[in-house]
């Protein structure tokens, strides 16, 4: 009786014409003039079907849709004024600019866009409203080395950036890349060399080179080199012609045309990359920088690749790691230029090997003796590498600049003052990564509660935190 009454009352309240089925949902009518506002058009699931279907997630639009920016009136969502700071220029690399934060502006041949960056750096750039980094003492030192390397063969300037985890090796490498690009060098930057050895890209055995080629990776690399260095590559031409797989390039073809052809066809990309590097090794007009992050991954004895007999393929038997190893060891050399690698200290899959640690004079985590396992071939490939240690901590001035940048970007929840800065600097011991990620971004200290005497409700007197 009660149920029947309630159902009847439900039916009476509904507009006429609607069926009183318990499975049909009805909503209140929208006010006149706004009836078509949220009408879904041209969507599969919006057509009324005669049969009531069971709930399906397939064609659901979702409850939340992005609003027009002009409708966002809440203060938190107001657009912030963008960070204003000087752009990164080679002229700014002087002693009195140490501690200054400079921005990496977006240019037509932006290396960050085309080559990419290591993952942690990518996340940091996404959080900041502008991609920037601080000029440190080691930055000036590196730029001075690069200036002297501009007129010397690359086998004389082969550096490896070392230091504990989070000390700024990848950032320093990116600064070197930006510096060289601004100085109109040809730059080849490999931000994640780990991807060449962790079995994520196609590999195929080639009898001519007696190595495993990586055609897709070569194609990507050619495309990136072309996008970033197209102006320089158009001024250089091939000395000898090339004919391969029914394709031929006569001598006099520009390197830009060669790279463009290789970047479109993976079948010829490996040969084109090899030819491009050979031609760059012959020309002495433009200096070339080869910058490799995750440098230690190519010095590991075994890669994740397996050969048809299921034994692990060595890095010097894969095309891309082999060419990096040849340049890093000085077996191949650009007439003008430099080779810089940056280690990744905390990667358990590809740790820093004994051969590298011996050559660079780095102590390493575990003690090693003359009886520890070493590969003669990798020792040969590591010969002549020089250690460029990155300072483990920020100086107070550098840390203050970084703190101010994040503060202006509204990253701090706490009131920004000297006490907070010194507290975070001390807690992180000056380590750059810890200072930013655990110090500035990881702090849970909020603003102090504001006492509101005028409120009539005692529980609201101390305000919201």
């Amino acid at each position: 009786m009660v149920l029947a009454l309630s159902r009847a009352s439900l039916c009476r309240s509904l507009p006429q014409g609607t069926a009183c089925l318990p499975s049909v949902r009805t909503y209140a009518n929208s006010p006149p003039g706004q009836q078509g506002q949220f009408k879904i058009q041209n969507v599969k699931g919006s057509r009324k079907s005669k049969v009531n279907k069971t709930f399906s997630r397939k064609n659901r639009i979702g409850a939340f849709r992005s609003m027009n920016p002009s409708q966002l009136t809440v203060p938190v969502l107001q657009p912030r004024p963008s960070l204003s700071m000087p752009s990164f220029k080679p002229e700014l690399m002087t002693e009195n600019m140490i501690g200054q934060v400079v921005a990496f502006n977006q240019t037509l041949n932006d290396p960050i866009k085309y080559f990419g960056t290591p993952k942690n750096m990518l996340l940091e750039f996404r959080l900041l409203s502008q991609r920037c980094s601080v000029i440190r003492n080691i930055t000036i030192l590196t730029t001075e080395e690069l200036n002297s390397a501009a007129s010397e063969p690359s086998h004389k300037t082969r550096y490896v950036l070392t230091g504990p985890s989070g000390c700024g090796k990848s950032f320093l490498l990116l600064q070197a890349v930006q510096y060289c690009l601004a100085k109109e060098w040809i730059v080849i930057y490999i931000p994640r060399a780990k991807t060449t050895v962790n079995s994520t890209t196609t590999h195929v055995y080639d009898l001519r080179t007696q190595t495993y080629l990586q055609p897709n990776y070569a194609q990507q690399t050619l495309r990136r080199i072309l996008e970033v260095n197209s102006a320089n590559l158009q001024t250089l031409t091939m000395r000898d012609g090339l004919s391969y797989e029914r394709r031929s390039f006569s001598s006099g073809t520009t390197l830009a045309q060669l790279a463009s052809a290789g970047s479109k066809d993976p079948a010829i990309s490996s040969v084109v990359l090899e030819t491009l590097l050979t031609e760059l090794c012959r020309q002495s007009k433009i200096p070339v920088l080869l910058a490799v992050d995750d440098f230690q991954s190519i010095y590991n004895q075994k890669t994740s690749y397996r050969d048809p007999h299921f034994s692990a393929i060595r890095p010097y038997h894969l095309a891309i790691p082999r060419f990096i190893l040849e340049f890093a060891s000085g077996k191949r050399s650009f007439p003008k230029g430099a080779i810089i690698g940056a280690l990744t200290a905390a990667d358990p899959a590809f740790p820093v090997t004994n051969e590298l640690m011996d050559e660079l004079g780095v102590p390493g985590v575990h003690p090693r003796s003359p009886y520890s396992k070493r590969s003669k071939i990798l020792q040969e490939y590591a010969r002549g590498l020089r250690n460029l240690p990155v300072p483990t901590e920020f100086s107070p001035r550098e840390a203050a600049s970084v703190f101010e940048t994040w503060m202006r970007d509204n990253a701090l929840t706490a009131p920004a003052n000297d006490e907070l800065f010194l507290a975070k600097y001390t807690e992180s011991a000056g380590n750059p990564k810890a200072f930013v990620w655990q110090g500035i971004l990881g702090t849970l200290e909020g603003a102090a509660p504001v006492v509101n005497e005028s409120t009539s409700w005692p529980q609201l007197r101390e305000g919201r935190i």
Binding site: Q210, Y212, S243, Y244, V271, S304, E380
Partner: protein, 197 residues
């Protein structure tokens, strides 16, 4: 969609995982198969080339008749590759000639030392062939699908034929490996039989 042995492999799956849907192929065999046909770990089924798909299918249809994989020469440290204009056939011919020359040199050296080449030694000893070494590569003795099912059926039939405990338990639809029957044993009651598979 790629079809191998009548099994449809979904496009968006990793090839190394998709191959485990074949009866008799588990994670390790799948890894070995991928290595044999130069399929990297993160290759999706849609990224397989037609050559790789054909090679996989023809290998899996008759693993025993497949050709053994050749030993690829790998570049030493100061290797200078030939120019790209040289064709694969020329390079292969050069490699074969080099291998033949090395073998001849080795045989001459053995003869000088008074030891015979390896084939002659085998023929001489007792007139019998030396027992062939068991290969460590599981792909040489690969059994999948109907062959594997037949083998399991034959094993169960053999156990019954010789009148063993294992055979009797299969016949009675009860657990074979000493599990309890006072409770549980439902899977055994459902699946254990003489004509399983």
């Amino acid at each position: 969609m790629v079809h191998i042995l009548g099994i449809n492999l979904p496009d968006d799956q990793l090839a190394r995982f998709a191959l485990t849907s074949i009866y008799g192929v588990g994670p390790h065999l799948s890894h070995r198969l991928c290595a044999r046909f130069q399929i990297h770990d993160k290759c999706r089924v849609r990224d397989l080339t037609p050559f790789q798909t054909t090679a996989l299918s023809s290998f899996l249809q008759s693993p025993k008749t497949a050709l053994p994989v050749a030993q690829y020469p790998l570049a030493p440290i100061n290797f200078i590759p030939r120019p790209p204009s040289k064709s694969i056939q020329e390079l292969q011919a050069e490699l074969n000639a080099e291998r033949a020359a090395q073998k001849q040199k080795r045989d001459e050296k053995l003869q000088k030392m008074g030891k015979l080449p390896v084939e002659d030694v085998k023929a001489k000893v007792g007139g019998r062939k030396a027992p062939e070494k068991k290969s460590r590569d599981p792909l040489t003795e690969l059994r999948i699908e109907s062959e594997l099912r037949r083998e399991i059926r034959e094993n169960i039939a053999h156990q019954r034929l010789i009148g063993s405990y294992v055979g009797r338990r299969h016949a009675m639809h009860l657990p074979v490996r000493g599990q309890r029957t006072q409770t549980n044993a439902k899977t055994a009651r459902k699946l254990n039989s003489l004509d399983r598979w």
